[in-house]
Protein backbone atom coordinates (compact mmCIF):
# COMPACT_ATOMS: atom_id res chain seq x y z
CA UNK A 1 0.00 0.00 0.00
CA UNK A 2 1.09 3.50 -0.80
CA UNK A 3 0.79 4.81 2.74
CA UNK A 4 3.62 2.58 3.92
CA UNK A 5 6.13 3.91 1.42
CA UNK A 6 7.94 7.20 1.86
CA UNK A 7 5.59 10.17 1.98
CA UNK A 8 5.17 12.11 -1.20
CA UNK A 9 7.10 15.33 -1.60
CA UNK A 10 5.30 18.51 -0.50
CA UNK A 11 7.17 20.41 -3.19
CA UNK A 12 4.47 20.30 -5.89
CA UNK A 13 2.03 21.93 -3.46
CA UNK A 14 4.48 24.68 -2.60
CA UNK A 15 5.42 25.33 -6.20
CA UNK A 16 1.80 25.57 -7.22
CA UNK A 17 1.09 28.05 -4.44
CA UNK A 18 4.22 30.07 -5.24
CA UNK A 19 3.24 30.21 -8.89
CA UNK A 20 -0.05 31.74 -7.95
CA UNK A 21 1.31 34.08 -5.28
CA UNK A 22 4.10 35.39 -7.50
CA UNK A 23 1.59 35.93 -10.30
CA UNK A 24 -0.82 37.68 -7.95
CA UNK A 25 1.81 40.06 -6.58
CA UNK A 26 3.13 40.81 -10.07
CA UNK A 27 -0.34 41.45 -11.41
CA UNK A 28 -1.27 43.77 -8.54
CA UNK A 29 2.08 45.51 -8.85
CA UNK A 30 1.26 46.09 -12.52
CA UNK A 31 -2.00 47.82 -11.58
CA UNK A 32 -0.14 50.33 -9.40
CA UNK A 33 2.58 50.65 -11.98
CA UNK A 34 0.09 51.50 -14.71
CA UNK A 35 -1.57 54.19 -12.61
CA UNK A 36 1.78 55.75 -11.72
CA UNK A 37 2.89 55.80 -15.34
CA UNK A 38 -0.44 57.27 -16.39
CA UNK A 39 0.36 60.36 -14.36
CA UNK A 40 2.05 61.53 -17.56
CA UNK A 41 -1.47 62.14 -18.84
CA UNK A 42 -1.75 64.91 -16.25
CA UNK A 43 1.38 66.53 -17.58
CA UNK A 44 5.15 66.29 -17.30
CA UNK A 45 5.11 67.88 -13.87
CA UNK A 46 2.76 65.30 -12.47
CA UNK A 47 4.87 62.46 -13.78
CA UNK A 48 8.04 63.97 -12.41
CA UNK A 49 6.41 64.40 -9.05
CA UNK A 50 5.31 60.76 -8.97
CA UNK A 51 8.78 59.69 -10.09
CA UNK A 52 10.14 61.77 -7.23
CA UNK A 53 7.88 60.03 -4.74
CA UNK A 54 9.22 56.70 -5.92
CA UNK A 55 12.72 57.96 -5.22
CA UNK A 56 11.79 58.87 -1.69
CA UNK A 57 10.94 62.56 -2.01
CA UNK A 58 8.12 62.17 0.45
CA UNK A 59 10.43 60.93 3.17
CA UNK A 60 13.78 62.49 2.51
CA UNK A 61 14.89 65.97 1.55
CA UNK A 62 16.49 64.57 -1.51
CA UNK A 63 15.65 61.87 -4.04
CA UNK A 64 17.50 58.58 -4.12
CA UNK A 65 17.19 56.77 -7.46
CA UNK A 66 18.76 53.74 -5.82
CA UNK A 67 15.40 53.12 -4.16
CA UNK A 68 13.89 52.56 -7.58
CA UNK A 69 16.84 50.36 -8.49
CA UNK A 70 16.19 48.17 -5.52
CA UNK A 71 12.47 48.00 -6.12
CA UNK A 72 13.15 47.00 -9.72
CA UNK A 73 15.49 44.30 -8.46
CA UNK A 74 12.74 43.00 -6.21
CA UNK A 75 10.28 42.91 -9.06
CA UNK A 76 12.89 41.26 -11.26
CA UNK A 77 13.51 38.56 -8.67
CA UNK A 78 9.80 37.86 -8.46
CA UNK A 79 9.55 37.93 -12.23
CA UNK A 80 12.35 35.38 -12.59
CA UNK A 81 10.82 33.17 -9.90
CA UNK A 82 7.42 33.29 -11.57
CA UNK A 83 8.87 32.57 -15.00
CA UNK A 84 10.89 29.68 -13.61
CA UNK A 85 7.78 28.16 -12.04
CA UNK A 86 5.82 28.75 -15.23
CA UNK A 87 8.37 26.72 -17.16
CA UNK A 88 6.91 23.63 -15.51
CA UNK A 89 3.72 24.25 -17.42
CA UNK A 90 5.14 25.06 -20.82
CA UNK A 91 4.75 22.36 -23.45
CA UNK A 92 8.05 20.55 -23.10
CA UNK A 93 8.40 19.21 -26.61
CA UNK A 94 7.20 20.06 -30.06
CA UNK A 95 4.88 17.08 -29.84
CA UNK A 96 3.21 18.41 -26.71
CA UNK A 97 2.98 21.83 -28.29
CA UNK A 98 1.30 20.40 -31.39
CA UNK A 99 -1.06 18.30 -29.33
CA UNK A 100 -2.18 21.31 -27.34
CA UNK A 101 -2.38 23.57 -30.34
CA UNK A 102 -4.42 21.12 -32.40
CA UNK A 103 -6.71 20.51 -29.45
CA UNK A 104 -7.20 24.24 -28.95
CA UNK A 105 -8.04 24.80 -32.61
CA UNK A 106 -10.41 21.85 -32.67
CA UNK A 107 -12.29 22.71 -29.50
CA UNK A 108 -12.61 26.44 -29.97
CA UNK A 109 -12.90 26.68 -26.19
CA UNK A 110 -12.26 30.10 -24.71
CA UNK A 111 -10.44 29.23 -21.50
CA UNK A 112 -8.22 26.74 -23.29
CA UNK A 113 -7.29 29.40 -25.83
CA UNK A 114 -6.69 31.93 -23.06
CA UNK A 115 -4.15 29.60 -21.50
CA UNK A 116 -2.28 29.50 -24.77
CA UNK A 117 -2.33 33.30 -24.88
CA UNK A 118 -0.86 33.24 -21.40
CA UNK A 119 1.96 30.92 -22.37
CA UNK A 120 2.65 32.95 -25.50
CA UNK A 121 2.66 36.33 -23.76
CA UNK A 122 4.63 34.85 -20.86
CA UNK A 123 7.26 33.63 -23.28
CA UNK A 124 7.44 37.05 -24.96
CA UNK A 125 7.91 38.67 -21.55
CA UNK A 126 11.04 36.64 -20.88
CA UNK A 127 12.69 39.01 -23.33
CA UNK A 128 10.59 42.15 -23.28
CA UNK A 129 10.26 42.32 -19.50
CA UNK A 130 13.94 41.61 -18.90
CA UNK A 131 15.08 44.50 -21.09
CA UNK A 132 12.73 46.92 -19.38
CA UNK A 133 13.58 45.78 -15.88
CA UNK A 134 17.29 45.89 -16.59
CA UNK A 135 17.05 49.54 -17.61
CA UNK A 136 14.99 50.36 -14.52
CA UNK A 137 17.61 48.72 -12.34
CA UNK A 138 20.58 50.42 -13.97
CA UNK A 139 19.28 53.87 -14.92
CA UNK A 140 16.63 54.81 -12.38
CA UNK A 141 18.10 58.32 -12.39
CA UNK A 142 16.81 58.86 -15.91
CA UNK A 143 13.17 58.15 -15.09
CA UNK A 144 11.24 61.35 -15.58
CA UNK A 145 8.96 62.92 -18.12
CA UNK A 146 11.82 63.98 -20.36
CA UNK A 147 14.26 61.23 -19.62
CA UNK A 148 11.63 58.56 -20.18
CA UNK A 149 10.28 60.28 -23.28
CA UNK A 150 13.80 60.32 -24.65
CA UNK A 151 14.11 56.63 -24.03
CA UNK A 152 10.77 55.94 -25.65
CA UNK A 153 11.44 57.92 -28.81
CA UNK A 154 15.12 58.57 -29.36
CA UNK A 155 16.35 55.35 -27.83
CA UNK A 156 13.75 53.39 -29.71
CA UNK A 157 12.06 51.78 -26.76
CA UNK A 158 8.53 52.42 -27.97
CA UNK A 159 8.16 49.24 -30.05
CA UNK A 160 9.33 47.21 -27.08
CA UNK A 161 7.01 49.04 -24.70
CA UNK A 162 4.10 48.59 -27.06
CA UNK A 163 4.62 44.83 -27.22
CA UNK A 164 5.32 44.59 -23.50
CA UNK A 165 2.14 46.51 -22.75
CA UNK A 166 0.05 44.17 -24.88
CA UNK A 167 1.70 41.11 -23.37
CA UNK A 168 1.47 42.15 -19.75
CA UNK A 169 -2.10 43.39 -19.87
CA UNK A 170 -3.38 40.27 -21.57
CA UNK A 171 -1.29 38.00 -19.39
CA UNK A 172 -2.01 39.70 -16.09
CA UNK A 173 -5.77 39.89 -16.37
CA UNK A 174 -6.10 36.37 -17.73
CA UNK A 175 -3.88 35.30 -14.84
CA UNK A 176 -6.06 37.00 -12.25
CA UNK A 177 -9.17 35.42 -13.73
CA UNK A 178 -7.48 32.05 -13.65
CA UNK A 179 -6.39 32.56 -10.07
CA UNK A 180 -9.98 33.10 -9.04
CA UNK A 181 -11.32 29.98 -10.73
CA UNK A 182 -8.28 27.89 -9.93
CA UNK A 183 -8.57 28.43 -6.17
CA UNK A 184 -12.29 28.97 -6.06
CA UNK A 185 -12.03 32.57 -4.83
CA UNK A 186 -14.83 35.01 -5.52
CA UNK A 187 -16.85 32.16 -6.94
CA UNK A 188 -19.65 32.38 -4.39
CA UNK A 189 -22.60 30.04 -4.26
CA UNK A 190 -23.08 29.89 -8.00
CA UNK A 191 -19.66 29.18 -9.51
CA UNK A 192 -20.93 28.98 -13.07
CA UNK A 193 -22.53 32.40 -12.93
CA UNK A 194 -19.59 33.89 -11.01
CA UNK A 195 -17.22 32.56 -13.62
CA UNK A 196 -19.18 34.34 -16.33
CA UNK A 197 -18.99 37.56 -14.36
CA UNK A 198 -15.30 37.14 -13.62
CA UNK A 199 -14.70 36.57 -17.31
CA UNK A 200 -16.48 39.79 -18.15
CA UNK A 201 -14.56 41.66 -15.46
CA UNK A 202 -11.35 40.21 -16.87
CA UNK A 203 -12.01 41.69 -20.29
CA UNK A 204 -12.95 44.99 -18.70
CA UNK A 205 -9.65 45.10 -16.83
CA UNK A 206 -7.69 44.26 -19.97
CA UNK A 207 -9.38 46.95 -22.03
CA UNK A 208 -9.06 49.56 -19.28
CA UNK A 209 -5.36 49.06 -18.67
CA UNK A 210 -4.57 48.71 -22.35
CA UNK A 211 -6.31 52.02 -23.04
CA UNK A 212 -4.54 53.67 -20.11
CA UNK A 213 -1.19 52.26 -21.19
CA UNK A 214 -1.60 53.22 -24.83
CA UNK A 215 -2.60 56.75 -23.89
CA UNK A 216 0.42 57.05 -21.59
CA UNK A 217 2.74 55.71 -24.24
CA UNK A 218 1.32 58.19 -26.74
CA UNK A 219 1.95 61.03 -24.26
CA UNK A 220 5.58 59.98 -23.90
CA UNK A 221 5.96 59.74 -27.64
CA UNK A 222 4.59 63.23 -28.05
CA UNK A 223 7.06 64.64 -25.53
CA UNK A 224 9.85 62.55 -26.98
CA UNK A 225 9.29 63.89 -30.45
CA UNK A 226 9.71 67.45 -29.24
CA UNK A 227 12.83 66.37 -27.38
CA UNK A 228 14.74 64.74 -30.18
CA UNK A 229 17.09 67.70 -30.63
CA UNK A 230 18.47 67.10 -27.19
CA UNK A 231 19.12 63.44 -27.77
CA UNK A 232 22.45 62.21 -26.50
CA UNK A 233 22.42 64.27 -23.34
CA UNK A 234 21.22 62.32 -20.34
CA UNK A 235 18.31 63.89 -18.56
CA UNK A 236 18.29 63.49 -14.84
CA UNK A 237 15.08 62.60 -13.22
CA UNK A 238 13.49 65.00 -10.87
CA UNK A 239 14.02 68.49 -12.17
CA UNK A 240 13.70 70.13 -8.78
CA UNK A 241 16.27 67.87 -7.18
CA UNK A 242 18.95 69.15 -9.51
CA UNK A 243 20.44 72.60 -9.17
CA UNK A 244 19.02 74.90 -11.82
CA UNK A 245 22.42 75.68 -13.20
CA UNK A 246 23.29 72.02 -13.69
CA UNK A 247 25.07 71.85 -17.05
CA UNK A 248 23.66 68.45 -17.99
CA UNK A 249 20.04 69.42 -17.88
CA UNK A 250 18.65 70.34 -21.25
CA UNK A 251 15.08 70.55 -20.05
CA UNK A 252 13.13 72.99 -22.15
CA UNK A 253 10.73 75.40 -20.50
CA UNK A 254 7.56 73.47 -19.81
CA UNK A 255 5.56 75.97 -21.83
CA UNK A 256 7.11 74.60 -25.01
CA UNK A 257 5.24 71.36 -24.57
CA UNK A 258 1.68 70.29 -25.05
Amino acid sequence: MKSITKAKSRMPARLDLLQSLSGLVLALFMWFHMFFVASILLGADAFDRVAGWMEGSLIFEQTYPVIVSMAAMGVFALFVLHALLALRKFPSSYRQYRTFHDHMKRMGHEDTTLWFVQVFTGFAMFFLGSVHLYIMMTRPDTIGAYGSANRVVSEWMWPLYLLLLLAVELHGSIGLYRLAVKWGFLTGSNPVESRRKLKRAKWGVTVFFLALGLASLAAFIKIGLTQQDHFGQPVLSWASSVPAEHPMLPVPPLGELS
Binding site: A7, A13, D16, M107, W183
Partner: protein, 259 residues
Protein backbone atom coordinates in the same frame (compact mmCIF):
# COMPACT_ATOMS: atom_id res chain seq x y z
CA UNK B 1 -26.81 5.98 -11.49
CA UNK B 2 -28.50 8.89 -13.05
CA UNK B 3 -32.17 9.66 -13.02
CA UNK B 4 -32.22 12.55 -15.41
CA UNK B 5 -33.99 12.20 -18.68
CA UNK B 6 -31.96 11.16 -21.71
CA UNK B 7 -32.56 14.27 -23.73
CA UNK B 8 -33.89 17.54 -22.53
CA UNK B 9 -37.62 17.13 -23.02
CA UNK B 10 -38.15 20.72 -24.08
CA UNK B 11 -35.71 20.34 -26.91
CA UNK B 12 -37.52 17.23 -28.05
CA UNK B 13 -40.87 18.98 -28.24
CA UNK B 14 -40.62 19.43 -32.01
CA UNK B 15 -40.98 15.71 -32.50
CA UNK B 16 -44.75 15.65 -31.99
CA UNK B 17 -45.20 16.67 -35.61
CA UNK B 18 -44.75 13.00 -36.59
CA UNK B 19 -41.75 11.62 -38.40
CA UNK B 20 -41.57 13.91 -41.38
CA UNK B 21 -38.32 15.30 -42.62
CA UNK B 22 -37.54 18.70 -41.16
CA UNK B 23 -36.32 19.87 -44.53
CA UNK B 24 -32.63 19.96 -43.74
CA UNK B 25 -30.21 17.72 -45.51
CA UNK B 26 -27.30 17.01 -43.21
CA UNK B 27 -23.76 16.27 -44.25
CA UNK B 28 -21.77 14.10 -41.87
CA UNK B 29 -18.00 14.10 -42.03
CA UNK B 30 -16.78 11.16 -40.05
CA UNK B 31 -13.18 10.30 -39.25
CA UNK B 32 -12.70 6.70 -40.27
CA UNK B 33 -9.80 4.45 -39.43
CA UNK B 34 -9.33 0.87 -38.43
CA UNK B 35 -6.04 0.50 -36.58
CA UNK B 36 -6.12 -3.29 -36.93
CA UNK B 37 -6.17 -3.10 -40.71
CA UNK B 38 -2.67 -2.37 -42.02
CA UNK B 39 -4.14 -0.87 -45.21
CA UNK B 40 -6.37 1.56 -43.33
CA UNK B 41 -5.32 5.15 -43.00
CA UNK B 42 -7.27 7.86 -41.19
CA UNK B 43 -9.55 9.79 -43.53
CA UNK B 44 -12.77 11.77 -43.46
CA UNK B 45 -15.75 9.98 -44.99
CA UNK B 46 -18.77 12.04 -46.01
CA UNK B 47 -22.40 10.93 -45.76
CA UNK B 48 -25.62 12.78 -46.46
CA UNK B 49 -28.87 12.24 -44.62
CA UNK B 50 -32.29 13.88 -44.35
CA UNK B 51 -32.86 15.24 -40.90
CA UNK B 52 -35.91 13.94 -39.05
CA UNK B 53 -37.55 15.70 -36.10
CA UNK B 54 -35.90 14.88 -32.80
CA UNK B 55 -32.99 13.22 -34.53
CA UNK B 56 -30.05 12.51 -32.25
CA UNK B 57 -26.58 11.59 -33.42
CA UNK B 58 -27.37 8.09 -32.22
CA UNK B 59 -30.25 7.90 -34.69
CA UNK B 60 -28.21 9.50 -37.45
CA UNK B 61 -25.25 7.18 -37.01
CA UNK B 62 -27.48 4.11 -37.10
CA UNK B 63 -29.10 5.41 -40.28
CA UNK B 64 -25.70 5.96 -41.83
CA UNK B 65 -24.60 2.47 -40.87
CA UNK B 66 -27.84 0.96 -42.23
CA UNK B 67 -27.82 2.87 -45.47
CA UNK B 68 -24.20 3.47 -46.42
CA UNK B 69 -21.51 2.05 -44.21
CA UNK B 70 -22.19 -1.31 -42.58
CA UNK B 71 -18.63 -1.41 -41.21
CA UNK B 72 -18.89 1.93 -39.39
CA UNK B 73 -17.83 1.46 -35.76
CA UNK B 74 -19.33 3.43 -32.88
CA UNK B 75 -20.51 2.61 -29.37
CA UNK B 76 -23.93 2.85 -27.78
CA UNK B 77 -25.56 0.97 -24.98
CA UNK B 78 -28.19 2.93 -23.11
CA UNK B 79 -29.04 5.67 -25.67
CA UNK B 80 -30.02 7.68 -22.63
CA UNK B 81 -26.91 9.38 -21.34
CA UNK B 82 -26.35 6.83 -18.61
CA UNK B 83 -23.76 4.33 -19.73
CA UNK B 84 -21.16 6.80 -20.98
CA UNK B 85 -20.10 4.77 -23.99
CA UNK B 86 -21.06 7.13 -26.82
CA UNK B 87 -18.65 10.00 -26.17
CA UNK B 88 -17.12 11.45 -29.34
CA UNK B 89 -15.87 14.70 -30.76
CA UNK B 90 -18.87 16.52 -32.17
CA UNK B 91 -17.69 19.44 -34.27
CA UNK B 92 -14.47 19.26 -32.29
CA UNK B 93 -16.06 19.21 -28.83
CA UNK B 94 -16.45 16.11 -26.71
CA UNK B 95 -20.04 15.17 -26.05
CA UNK B 96 -22.47 12.25 -25.84
CA UNK B 97 -23.84 11.31 -29.25
CA UNK B 98 -27.04 9.90 -27.80
CA UNK B 99 -27.84 13.18 -26.06
CA UNK B 100 -27.01 15.47 -28.93
CA UNK B 101 -29.87 16.54 -31.14
CA UNK B 102 -28.88 17.27 -34.71
CA UNK B 103 -31.11 20.33 -34.64
CA UNK B 104 -28.64 21.94 -32.24
CA UNK B 105 -25.91 21.56 -34.87
CA UNK B 106 -25.24 23.05 -38.28
CA UNK B 107 -25.95 21.33 -41.57
CA UNK B 108 -22.43 20.02 -41.72
CA UNK B 109 -21.51 17.87 -38.74
CA UNK B 110 -18.01 16.59 -38.09
CA UNK B 111 -17.56 13.51 -35.93
CA UNK B 112 -14.28 12.08 -34.67
CA UNK B 113 -13.25 9.67 -31.91
CA UNK B 114 -12.30 11.05 -28.51
CA UNK B 115 -8.58 11.74 -28.26
CA UNK B 116 -6.60 10.54 -25.22
CA UNK B 117 -8.10 7.04 -25.44
CA UNK B 118 -7.07 3.99 -27.39
CA UNK B 119 -8.81 3.88 -30.73
CA UNK B 120 -10.79 0.74 -31.41
CA UNK B 121 -12.01 1.85 -34.82
CA UNK B 122 -13.77 4.84 -36.41
CA UNK B 123 -15.69 6.53 -33.57
CA UNK B 124 -15.19 3.78 -31.04
CA UNK B 125 -12.54 4.21 -28.34
CA UNK B 126 -11.55 2.18 -25.30
CA UNK B 127 -12.32 4.46 -22.36
CA UNK B 128 -12.51 1.43 -20.08
CA UNK B 129 -8.80 0.76 -20.11
CA UNK B 130 -8.01 4.37 -19.24
CA UNK B 131 -10.64 4.55 -16.52
CA UNK B 132 -9.44 1.31 -14.98
CA UNK B 133 -5.85 2.53 -14.90
CA UNK B 134 -6.97 5.76 -13.27
CA UNK B 135 -9.16 3.97 -10.73
CA UNK B 136 -6.37 1.64 -9.70
CA UNK B 137 -3.91 4.47 -9.34
CA UNK B 138 -6.29 6.60 -7.30
CA UNK B 139 -7.74 3.63 -5.44
CA UNK B 140 -11.27 4.77 -6.08
CA UNK B 141 -13.03 2.52 -3.65
CA UNK B 142 -14.05 2.89 -0.03
CA UNK B 143 -11.09 2.23 2.27
CA UNK B 144 -12.68 1.21 5.55
CA UNK B 145 -11.07 -0.57 8.46
CA UNK B 146 -14.36 -1.75 9.94
CA UNK B 147 -15.33 -5.32 9.32
CA UNK B 148 -18.61 -5.45 7.44
CA UNK B 149 -21.20 -7.38 9.38
CA UNK B 150 -23.93 -8.35 6.92
CA UNK B 151 -26.41 -8.95 9.71
CA UNK B 152 -26.16 -5.48 11.17
CA UNK B 153 -27.94 -2.40 9.91
CA UNK B 154 -25.78 -0.07 7.91
CA UNK B 155 -24.42 3.00 9.62
CA UNK B 156 -26.79 5.91 9.10
CA UNK B 157 -25.84 8.91 7.02
CA UNK B 158 -27.36 12.39 6.86
CA UNK B 159 -29.59 12.62 3.79
CA UNK B 160 -27.92 15.88 2.80
CA UNK B 161 -24.50 14.20 2.88
CA UNK B 162 -25.80 11.19 1.00
CA UNK B 163 -27.10 13.55 -1.60
CA UNK B 164 -23.78 15.37 -1.88
CA UNK B 165 -21.99 12.08 -2.44
CA UNK B 166 -24.61 10.96 -4.87
CA UNK B 167 -24.21 14.18 -6.81
CA UNK B 168 -20.53 13.42 -7.46
CA UNK B 169 -21.32 9.76 -8.07
CA UNK B 170 -23.34 10.72 -11.14
CA UNK B 171 -20.15 10.61 -13.22
CA UNK B 172 -20.65 8.07 -16.01
CA UNK B 173 -16.97 7.80 -16.95
CA UNK B 174 -17.71 8.90 -20.49
CA UNK B 175 -14.26 10.42 -20.84
CA UNK B 176 -15.49 13.71 -22.27
CA UNK B 177 -13.67 15.71 -19.59
CA UNK B 178 -10.41 13.94 -20.38
CA UNK B 179 -10.73 14.52 -24.11
CA UNK B 180 -11.58 18.18 -23.44
CA UNK B 181 -8.56 18.73 -21.22
CA UNK B 182 -5.47 20.21 -22.84
CA UNK B 183 -3.43 19.05 -19.86
CA UNK B 184 -4.57 15.44 -20.14
CA UNK B 185 -3.78 15.43 -23.85
CA UNK B 186 -0.30 16.85 -23.34
CA UNK B 187 0.55 14.79 -20.27
CA UNK B 188 -0.60 11.22 -20.49
CA UNK B 189 -0.36 10.50 -16.77
CA UNK B 190 -2.63 13.34 -15.69
CA UNK B 191 -5.59 11.86 -13.79
CA UNK B 192 -8.09 14.24 -15.33
CA UNK B 193 -11.19 15.82 -13.89
CA UNK B 194 -12.89 12.43 -13.71
CA UNK B 195 -10.16 11.17 -11.36
CA UNK B 196 -10.14 14.28 -9.20
CA UNK B 197 -13.92 14.18 -8.97
CA UNK B 198 -13.70 10.61 -7.70
CA UNK B 199 -11.27 11.62 -4.98
CA UNK B 200 -13.66 14.41 -3.99
CA UNK B 201 -16.41 11.81 -3.81
CA UNK B 202 -14.57 9.37 -1.53
CA UNK B 203 -13.30 12.23 0.57
CA UNK B 204 -16.91 13.02 1.44
CA UNK B 205 -17.78 9.46 2.27
CA UNK B 206 -17.73 8.82 6.06
CA UNK B 207 -17.21 5.10 5.42
CA UNK B 208 -13.83 5.89 3.86
CA UNK B 209 -11.16 6.24 6.55
CA UNK B 210 -8.60 7.96 4.37
CA UNK B 211 -7.35 11.37 5.47
CA UNK B 212 -6.23 14.32 3.37
CA UNK B 213 -2.64 13.19 3.92
CA UNK B 214 -3.57 9.87 2.30
CA UNK B 215 -5.22 11.67 -0.58
CA UNK B 216 -2.14 13.83 -0.96
CA UNK B 217 -0.20 10.65 -1.66
CA UNK B 218 -2.57 9.99 -4.56
CA UNK B 219 -3.08 13.41 -6.13
CA UNK B 220 -0.49 15.71 -4.56
CA UNK B 221 1.66 16.18 -7.64
CA UNK B 222 1.64 17.41 -11.22
CA UNK B 223 -0.10 14.26 -12.42
CA UNK B 224 -2.77 15.04 -9.89
CA UNK B 225 -4.45 18.21 -8.76
CA UNK B 226 -1.41 20.45 -9.23
CA UNK B 227 -1.17 19.43 -12.86
CA UNK B 228 -4.55 20.96 -13.59
CA UNK B 229 -4.05 24.28 -15.33
CA UNK B 230 -7.67 25.35 -14.85
CA UNK B 231 -8.55 25.36 -18.51
CA UNK B 232 -12.03 24.24 -17.48
CA UNK B 233 -12.68 22.32 -20.65
CA UNK B 234 -13.88 19.56 -18.32
CA UNK B 235 -16.43 21.76 -16.62
CA UNK B 236 -17.74 23.04 -19.93
CA UNK B 237 -18.29 19.66 -21.61
CA UNK B 238 -19.30 17.31 -18.79
CA UNK B 239 -22.64 15.92 -20.01
CA UNK B 240 -23.72 15.30 -16.42
CA UNK B 241 -23.01 18.92 -15.46
CA UNK B 242 -20.83 17.90 -12.59
CA UNK B 243 -19.31 20.77 -10.60
CA UNK B 244 -15.79 19.90 -11.68
CA UNK B 245 -14.43 23.43 -11.38
CA UNK B 246 -15.59 23.63 -7.76
CA UNK B 247 -14.36 20.15 -6.87
CA UNK B 248 -10.89 20.69 -8.30
CA UNK B 249 -10.52 24.12 -6.65
CA UNK B 250 -11.64 22.59 -3.36
CA UNK B 251 -9.16 19.69 -3.59
CA UNK B 252 -6.41 22.12 -4.52
CA UNK B 253 -7.03 24.11 -1.35
CA UNK B 254 -7.23 20.96 0.75
CA UNK B 255 -4.04 19.54 -0.70
CA UNK B 256 -2.18 22.83 -0.17
CA UNK B 257 -3.33 22.84 3.43
CA UNK B 258 -1.99 19.29 3.78
CA UNK B 259 1.24 19.96 1.90
Amino acid sequence: MSTDSPVDSTSLSTSHSSRVASGRRLTFKILRHNPRDPDSHPHMATFELDETPGMTLFIALNAIRDEYAPSLQFDFVCRAGICGSCGMLIDGRPGLACRTLTQTLGEEITLAPLPAFKLIGDLSVDTGQWMRGMSERLETWVHGQQEIDPDRLEERMEPSLAEEIYELDRCIECGCCVAACGTALMREDFVGAVGLNKIARFRLDPRDDRTDADYYELIGDDDGVFGCMTLLGCQDVCPKDLTLQTQIAFLRRRMIATG
